[in-house]
Amino acid sequence: EAGVAQSPRYKIIEKRQSVAFWCNPISGHATLYWYQQILGQGPKLLIQFQNNGVVDDSQLPKDRFSAERLKGVDSTLKIQPAKLEDSAVYLCATLGGGNEKLFFGSGTQLSVL
């Protein structure tokens, strides 16, 4: 089966600019996650969707980050305005395998200068 697709693969922006990441999940996977992974750290959950509803966004910095999942399929994550500390890999994942294991995309590596 096709995997989780993310784009772009890399993005370099200056602080205070805005940026958006896109995720196309595995077909039929209802639950979608966005994780932030800073170098040397484990993935940190930003937001979890069940179809197009939000399950958990307690760690999403809502003053600058927003996410949506249109029609319960594709999802976008936006940062506006970006800060230096937002430099990280942004990983999209979907839940499959009997609703117990995550399938990750390759991520978008963001550098904020």
Partner: protein
């Protein structure tokens, strides 16, 4: 506070030996615990899941144990190979609402030398 802790230092072992990685957690009562492998520049890949009522799980050269009293999981790779070199992450279901909300540890980098 809630924590998930993995071996903070990289683990260096020789090919053929058994690698043992540790995951400790506090103030969680997970229904299950998972282990993932992550290679540089890639997203994590699922390896094994073990439930709270299971003591041990095996898959080929991999073995996971889960002690809910000690709040600890051990991940073993037997007959290790250089291709096993990667970062290994443990993850817990932390929301406990049936929504599979996974919180990850920091990961342990494993280096297997020929």
């Amino acid at each position: 506070s809630q924590k998930i802790e993995q071996n903070s230092e990289a683990l260096n072992i020789q090919e053929g030996k058994t690698a043992t990685l540790t995951c400790n957690y506090t103030n969680y009562s997970p229904a299950y615990l998972q282990w993932y492998r992550q290679d540089p520049g890639r997203g994590p890949v699922f390896l094994l899941l073990i439930r709270e009522n299971e003591k041990e799980k095996r898959k080929e050269r991999l073995k996971v144990t889960f002690d809910t009293t000690l709040k600890q999981s051990l991940f073993h790779i037997t007959a290790s190979q250089p291709a096993d070199s990667a970062t290994y992450l443990c993850a817990l279901d932390t929301l406990g609402s049936g929504y599979s909300t996974l919180t990850f540890g920091k990961g342990t980098m494993l280096l297997v030398s020929p």
